[in-house]
Symmetry: C2
Subunit: 455 residues, 2 copies
């Protein structure tokens, strides 16, 4: 009996000691992150000195060398590039569009080519407009009626959902496949209402797809305010026409890179905790929330471990993925090499939900791993990380799923995210230093716990 | 046995039915709030057409009639004014200040008189500056040394706290009592570093106090960036002087009003659930987050009940309190009358923490009440309201404490709040429609549950 008590005492003593140490270290992550400007200054540089950096662009090359250079300065154990080929879609000169109405005259509107779209050619495209809110509505029309028309997908995001990602997810299909579906019926072009809950004049771009068996037609997004104008005028003037000229085209594929930096594990150097974000962004904004925030947060995690002199058991590897926005070649290449090399990843964490206040983690893993993370809820909760839920980890790390890696995504407050997402408004000024840094510290905390207690 | 089972079945059936109804209604609050612009448009009007509205000002009078008019239109059961007297502190012409250094020349800086301060007179105040970071540091100086000097309280808010209200609370004592304490030692004026975690050029004002037994000296706040400049230059030039001219003064007290609107309870009309926010604001900004947001949120709660045709058991009363910022006369008057009339308040809820994403509720009540509210955590949690904690309810409702009323405050994400608080930057543009409306629906949900299940 005495022995049992001693064992229990030792157990509890060790347990509470350990919890105490954990609390102290986690508190240091937050204190250091909240009182340091480096991540925020890095984001400013990335946004203002490099700017929008779609894969294949000069800016994306600059971003690769910038981040490689920063990682070199962090005094890590390993820094290297992972070569890959990327598509090289080029926007060309700024797009131009107007509504032409005999009743209302010529009204210029703000549009932006969707990523991957073909251009209109220098003469542009001019035609009557048919507004639809769903594919069902589109397919009710006869092919004859649609032929030579421009299809205007004007579906709003549902404002009643608490999580704006849900609203976005529901409507993204028009941006992705609107052109394909409209072309089936003979349409000459498509206009997509920007995927945002905000009423603004910014076109919110994003990737779209073609199908080789269907004619390729140009696709643009239109700002929500201009979409409302177009919709209103269409009701008043059925003869209204729309003109747009886009100059985008697909260039030759280019060589690019994932950029990787590691702090080697002192006990299990071959076991990897991956943290990642994507370095590329759309070209029309500065890629501040999407995903400059994630990039500087992950770099900050490495800095926190170095600055606080925490030597991890496992290797902490940061990957700045190239090409999340266009074809996810960076994520695919990373997984391909991890598989080739039989690398062991004990977890992969992605930060790609914007630099707003973190709410918790979304976990794509089996129940045992999920429950283990869920058991840390008390300490997460102390830092307002209240959501530990099952869900996706992130696009770049998703390709590690077949290697059975637990995938984890940082969840953030989503209310403002789609105001900026893929638009000229995704600027440094719209990221808040403290909100950003709470994300950095949250990821550091999770990495620390996984490193210490494994999954 | 059979009877027991039937009773149990009926009980469970009723219970789950009831929960189901609750879920449906609460979901309607959120859906309606998130898809309606009225509260946001009201806030725009209050900020842009009325603007800053310190008690005693013409703007505050305009705000009273504006809100009275809006409440009249809401088709409530009762709308009335509660008369009170308010102080009438007047800023006068814009303040002017500069650093004067033989080494560095004349450098203009942004200041703002603290509320309640005396002015410098038209000649302004010119003198050497002594920087301190604490009262301990101040009181180490000899009176001879301080006499005729200007004391510069340059304490930063602690950035390492998760909750910025905590950081603010720690340092507010310099703004409130800095002048009193400096005057004791013969200082001629005080400069207070603005109470914000943001690095900006906005002076963040706020109330200060005098003591009749101590000489009154002028007090101003200085923007954080200018405070840093002043501090740096002081290190390089001990002979540096500071000039400031302020034109504020105390006018005659004025009549003003709390504005009250009620939906009468259908079962217990004499039992009141109070929701409140303050209508007055500082004069230098638009009073958007502080506390226009709370005002339009509470009005939205009334609208939600009316629009969704929910007839409450208890009376839901909204009070737009006058004079939270200066002397809390509105809150005091409200409590005084409630006491006189022996009114029964089953709860008082205040929204005065800005229009950012709501996190939950802070409860000042006994354990029984606290536990009852805590038991609703599951439904709160579905709407990301994860914090149900013991704490203050709000300044305006605090005077109901002696009547033993459970006091509840809406907790919001505090990261950005003090960027705006009491500054020219507290503008409509800095309030996000969805974040604002999540607050409205959160209060409606709480009112609904209190109304249905009592406390």
């Amino acid at each position: 009996m005495k022995k049992i008590i001693i064992v229990l005492l030792v157990f509890f003593a060790h347990n509470s000691f350990s919890q105490n140490i954990d609390s102290i270290i986690i508190n240091k992550f937050f204190s250091e992150a909240l009182s340091n400007n480096l991540a925020y200054d890095n984001l400013r540089y990335l946004c203002k000195n490099i700017g929008g950096r779609i894969c294949g662009s000069t800016q994306s090359e600059y971003a690769v060398s910038w981040i490689k250079n920063l990682l070199d300065k962090l005094n890590l154990d390993t820094v290297f590039l992972q070569e890959l080929m990327v598509r090289n879609w080029i926007r060309g000169d700024k797009e131009y569009a107007y509504i032409s109405s005999q009743k209302f005259g010529k009204i210029e509107v703000n549009i932006s080519s969707l990523g991957g779209s073909i251009g209109t050619g220098s003469n542009g495209l001019f035609g009557k407009v048919i507004e639809v809110k769903s594919y069902e509505e589109l397919f009710e029309y006869d092919k004859d009626y649609i032929t030579d028309k421009i299809i205007f997908f004007n579906q709003h995001l549902n404002p009643t959902y608490l999580n704006t990602f849900r609203a976005y997810g529901e409507v993204a299909k028009f941006r992705v496949a609107g052109a394909m579906n409209a072309a089936k019926l003979g349409a000459t072009g498509v206009i997509i209402r920007s995927l945002t809950l905000s009423n603004d004049y910014y076109p919110h771009t994003g990737i779209m797809s073609y199908n080789d068996s269907i004619k390729k037609i140009p696709a643009v997004c239109i700002s929500t305010n201009d979409a409302d104008t177009l919709s209103t005028l269409l009701k008043l003037d059925k003869e209204l026409k729309f003109y747009f000229r886009t100059n985008c085209y697909e260039g030759e594929e280019k060589t690019s890179y994932n950029v990787i930096g590691e702090i080697r594990g002192n006990k299990y150097p071959d076991k990897i905790i991956l943290i990642g974000a994507h370095l590329d962004s759309w070209d029309t904004g500065e890629g501040a929330h999407d995903d400059g925030a994630g990039i500087v947060q992950c770099m900050e995690v490495l800095r926190l471990f170095k600055t606080l002199n925490i030597s991890p058991n496992h290797t902490i590897r940061f990957c700045a993925f190239m090409d999340e926005e266009v074809a996810q070649r960076g994520g695919k290449k990373y997984a391909e090499i991890a598989k080739q090399k039989n690398e062991i990843h004990i977890a992969a964490i992605e930060a790609d939900a914007g630099g707003t206040t973190p709410f918790g983690f979304s976990i794509n893993a089996d129940d045992i791993v999920f429950d283990k993370i869920k058991k840390w809820s008390d300490i997460f909760f102390q830092y307002n990380l209240f959501l530990i839920v099952k869900g996706g980890g992130g696009v770049d790390i998703s390709f590690l799923k077949e290697l059975n890696v637990p995938l984890i995504g940082l969840i953030t407050d989503s209310q403002r995210y789609f105001d900026y997402h893929h638009s000229p408004n995704d600027r440094f000024e719209n990221v808040h230093k403290r909100e950003l840094q709470l994300g950095s510290a949250s990821i550091a905390m999770l990495v620390y716990l996984i490193d210490k207690y494994d999954l």
